[in-house]
């Protein structure tokens, strides 16, 4: 099948972004990421985008695909194309580095709040540990109306991760502030768009209830 990929391009020093169309011949079940990689290898080596695992666990390839935030690696082109056209844009709410690659430091710079619990303990027959389900893609920031308009907002995934790694019923004090759970307008776009069902919106509500009932403290 022939598809038309319309990609938002932006390079350092450009006054504004531009859209460029590429024709690509792939199966409908090819991922949007593989289609983009094919373009970068065969047509335009200057096209830049972030990608690593190609199977939905590393979170590198979050993009806005035909208006919706998705991981490009687990999005089949045939399922999202409209009339054979797929428009690909960088995530919103982050600074664009180059084309589809964005600077996620806004999210990762808050990770001191998440420490040291990057591993989740799982109850089982014996003690098990797993990496958090959150793949740290930034999709929830892009989908969130607050993260898009309030740069100081901690953001959905960071709040949820900080809560999940809380100890002795205590979370970092900043969660109980305008930058934390009280900024949320309960749009739940973060949970709707989350590619792995991490549901940050529900966690934010849980933290609010915890603060109001006094069951959750701050440290």
């Amino acid at each position: 099948m022939r598809y038309r990929l319309v990609v938002r391009r932006y390079k350092q020093g450009w006054r504004e972004a531009e859209y460029r169309a590429y024709e690509v011949d792939v199966d409908p079940d090819t991922s949007v990421l593989d289609a983009l990689e094919k373009v970068s290898l065969e047509q335009d080596p200057t096209l830049t985008f972030e990608h690593a695992c190609h199977h939905g666990v590393c979170g590198a390839c979050g993009m806005v695909i035909n208006g919706v935030e998705r991981l490009a690696c687990v999005t089949r082109i045939g399922e999202v194309a409209r009339g054979g056209v797929v428009v690909v844009e960088p995530l919103r709410g982050f600074r664009v580095v180059s084309d589809l690659a964005v600077d996620k430091s806004r999210m990762f710079s808050q990770y001191a709040l998440v420490e040291p619990g990057t591993l989740e303990r799982v109850d089982g027959v014996v003690e098990l540990e797993k990496l958090f389900d959150c793949v740290e893609c930034g999709v929830c920031y892009s989908a969130c109306p607050i993260a898009n308009t309030f740069p100081e907002y901690l953001g959905p995934s960071v709040i949820a991760l900080a809560y999940r790694s809380s100890k002795d019923g205590k979370v970092p004090a900043v969660l109980d502030s305008r930058r934390g759970v009280w900024a949320c307008h309960a749009a739940f776009e973060c949970s709707v768009r989350c590619p792995v069902g991490f549901k940050p919106g529900e966690t934010i509500m849980k933290v609010r209830r915890g603060f109001l009932s006094g069951k959750l403290g701050v440290r």
Partner: protein, 384 residues
């Protein structure tokens, strides 16, 4: 004056090497044509090898296990330490068991045989007809985050990390590489970068990159297909108790199960697609290990090209380990350049240490490698 080194390749080998060299006090610039981990490394199945998969070669197995221990020590937050389990499903697997246990002991890998009942209690989704089971110290990881941890640590020691900067040529004069020519895709300009030493750590792409300098690297890109399922069927890594073969492993991390892998050899790692029959084979073999996998949705099919070491022409390479090689380009007219190929993700730190020794010796730097004892910075520090 501080010596400058350019490392080409932003996979795990390049990242670990940039860190190793920066820790020795060298001035490092790392160049990567795409985003960090966008080549082979990012696309592994995410298995932290216990070495058990390679017990037929005790040296390789021992090397894997000792690196497994080092990585868990220097960066515990990167690894799911739930271990792995080798299971015998048929008679041929069962025949392999005694050999397997004997070799694990020889390699010093702590393993423990468990009964069928216990295995099924620990991992209820394993094939209920299993005939034997052995617990091993495998682990799993998110490849990108491991690479970013090495790079964050390198940056904290002053390394300059440049993704989207592709090497498009070399300036070679008087038997030395003077500079690399780089296309910066962020600002769309080209520039030259001079250094005292250059390391080609581009893995499966090493031949393509070396050719830009008129040099040769005996690397054989060997792709393998992996099938990612939407859902996690176990906590431990599931391995078939037999010689390494197609579709004999299921690696779990986060909420995903990855069935791997196949293997063939290509010329150009930029022209690789997953053959449909490989996908079918993997799904069929995966069902033999864990029947429940047939109920899960296929989330992604992907291919990653291993940088296998081809036959080394006499005198051009120095096999520093059974599993990887450093190619010294002196005899081909580039006295200050080397390529590093082979290895596994799990042994990247060791490869970097040995390559770092090689570079340090050439540059007259006596500082030893300290990567085995120094804790790694967390991956998120890369962004801050």
């Amino acid at each position: 004056m501080t010596k400058k080194v350019v490392v080409i390749g932003g996979g795990v080998t390049g990242a670990a090497l940039a860190y190793d060299l920066a820790l020795r006090g060298l001035r490092v610039t790392l160049l990567e044509r795409g985003s960090i981990g966008s080549g082979t490394s990012g696309r592994t199945h995410g298995l932290l090898h216990s070495g058990c998969r390679y017990v037929a070669d005790v040296e390789v197995a021992r090397e894997c296990y000792s690196e497994n221990v080092v990585l868990r020590r220097i960066a515990p937050f990167l690894f799911e330490k739930n271990g792995g389990i080798f299971v015998a499903v048929d008679e041929s697997d069962l025949e392999y068991k005694d050999f397997f246990l004997k070799k694990c002991e020889e390699a010093g890998i702590p393993v423990k045989e468990v009964s069928r009942e216990e295995a099924l209690k620990l991992e209820p989704n394993l094939n209920p007809d299993l005939k034997a089971a052995v617990l091993v110290p495998d682990g799993t990881f998110d490849p990108l985050k491991v690479i970013l941890s090495f790079l964050a640590s390198a940056k904290q020691r002053g390394a300059d990390i440049r993704p989207y900067n592709e090497v498009v040529g070399f300036r070679v004069e008087g038997g030395e590489v003077k500079a690399v020519k780089v296309r910066d895709k962020v600002s769309l300009r080209e520039y030259e970068l001079e250094a005292d030493f250059f390391v080609n750590a581009t893995g499966a792409w090493a031949k393509k990159v070396a050719r830009l300098a008129g040099l040769d690297v005996p690397v054989k890109p060997s792709p393998g297909v992996m099938v990612a399922l939407d859902g996690r069927v176990g906590f431990r890594v599931f391995n078939r108790l037999n010689k390494p073969g197609d579709g004999d492993i299921i690696v779990h991390h986060r909420g995903t199960s990855v069935i791997g892998t196949t293997s063939w050899v290509v010329e150009d790692p930029d022209k690789v697609e997953a053959p449909r029959e490989h996908v079918e084979l993997l799904l069929r073999r995966g069902r033999e290990l864990a029947p429940v996998t047939s109920k899960l949705r296929v989330k992604a099919v992907y291919v990653s090209s291993r940088p296998l070491v081809g036959s080394l022409p006499a005198g051009t390479g120095r096999e520093v380990s059974r599993s990887f090689a450093i190619i010294d380009h002196s005899r081909e007219g580039a006295g200050n350049m080397a390529s590093v190929i082979g290895g596994k993700f799990t042994t990247a730190r060791l490869m970097a240490e040995k390559t770092g020794d090689f570079v340090a010796e050439r540059l007259g730097v006596s500082t030893p490698s300290r990567t085995a004892e120094t804790p790694l910075a967390p991956y998120w520090a890369y962004f801050t």
